[in-house]
């Protein structure tokens, strides 16, 4: 399956790539062919900064079940910190 499924969002923060830390601007979440994971399809997350070129990327390729666990863990950590898990500003 080549799905072309991709969701994007603005993000702020830092990511560590092959050349060290860099400023993050966008996250792309897709469900399609992985480059490395031994899966026919994977939930891929790419944290990127397009201004710094294609290699400014922190990438993960997860099985669908792993992706669900990640979502649960992220929401769990936000909840424990007393942060609202339903509200997201445009980019904060």
């Amino acid at each position: 399956m080549c799905t072309g499924i991709v969701e994007t969002a603005e993000v702020s923060g830092s990511g560590k790539g092959p050349r060290g830390w860099f400023k993050l601007e966008q996250v792309n979440v897709s469900y399609d062919h992985p480059s490395d994971a031994p899966l026919e399809h994977a939930l891929s997350i790419d944290f990127v900064n397009q201004k710094q070129g294609p290699s400014a990327r922190v990438a993960v390729e997860l099985s669908p079940d792993s992706a669900r666990r990640l979502v649960k863990a992220v929401l769990g950590a936000l909840s424990k910190a007393g942060l609202d898990i339903n509200e997201a500003s445009n980019c904060g």
Binding site: T3, E40, S44, P54, R57
Partner: protein, 259 residues
């Protein structure tokens, strides 16, 4: 098929070249050809969504080994340069490569092959995954090809809600304009294209009286030629390559400078 004997001479030249692509913009391409005066038939290879990668260089050399002038243009050239997986991620995050530039780059690659003194004047097009979709698209949108091979191209049938600015028309809607014989190789377990969407394309091809040949492999899904991946299915891949070389020889002439 390539007449392989242990006493034969063989040689190949394979390298990166630059050529004018869509709108005359210079792009890079991987070009491989057999040594010798020809004349050779040609094949344009459209790389898959994971990028202009090592696998497509291997496929390009495989065609040269079998006696074809082979060229794989970098259809992601305009997005910049980096590792194939970084470039694939960039294209994915940018909404995909526009159909219009793909058609232009592939047509320009065919023009390049036909312009060579080694060419027999016939050129086919081959692509897998998104490249399979684009092989069908370019065979409909141009008259540059004498044969086309669509390997498990998804989104040939695209519902309206899946159309995007980069891919504004479903390729199936161009079926009446298909200008060459078409070979389709598909896996029964693929989710895109599904068996239903392959059947839908087949009905459209019949409706317009097109020359086509489809093969559906049981036990195979998407990407069954990709030996570095879990999708690899050796029996389907071996048979698929044989069917493809037979098909190209029928419509492009004898490979290896034999005609």
């Amino acid at each position: 098929m390539h007449p392989y004997t242990t006493d034969m001479y063989e040689g190949m030249l394979a390298e990166t070249i630059m050529l004018p692509g869509h709108s005359g913009e210079i792009i890079n391409a991987y070009y491989a050809r057999p040594l010798g005066p020809g004349p050779f038939p040609g094949v344009v290879l459209i790389h898959h969504m994971p990028g202009w990668d090592e696998l497509y260089r291997e496929f390009t050399r495989k065609f040269a080994h079998h006696g074809y002038l082979a060229i794989s243009p970098n259809i992601y050239f305009r997005f910049g340069h980096g590792s194939p997986d970084d470039m694939s991620a960039k294209v994915r995050g940018s909404g995909g490569v526009p159909d219009v530039s793909v058609v232009g780059d592939i047509e320009a690659s065919a023009r390049f092959l036909k312009s060579l003194p080694l060419s027999n004047g016939k050129v086919g097009v081959f692509g897998t995954c998104s490249g399979g979709r684009q092989a069908f698209l370019v065979a409909c949108k141009t008259k540059s090809f004498d044969a086309a091979v669509n390997c498990w191209g998804g989104n040939v049938v695209q519902p309206k809600e899946k159309l995007t600015p980069a891919q504004p028309v479903a390729p199936i809607d161009y079926t009446k304009d298909l200008s060459s014989p078409l070979l389709g190789l598909f896996g029964e377990e693929d989710k895109n294209p599904t068996r239903e969407s392959v059947h839908q394309l087949e009905e459209e091809l019949k409706k317009y009286g097109k020359n086509y040949e489809f093969h559906m492999y049981p036990g195979a899904g998407h990407g069954f030629f990709y030996y570095p991946s879990v999708a690899y299915r050796p029996e389907a891949a071996v048979d698929g390559w044989k069917k493809m070389f037979t098909f190209f020889e029928k419509y492009l002439g004898t490979p290896g400078g034999g005609s």
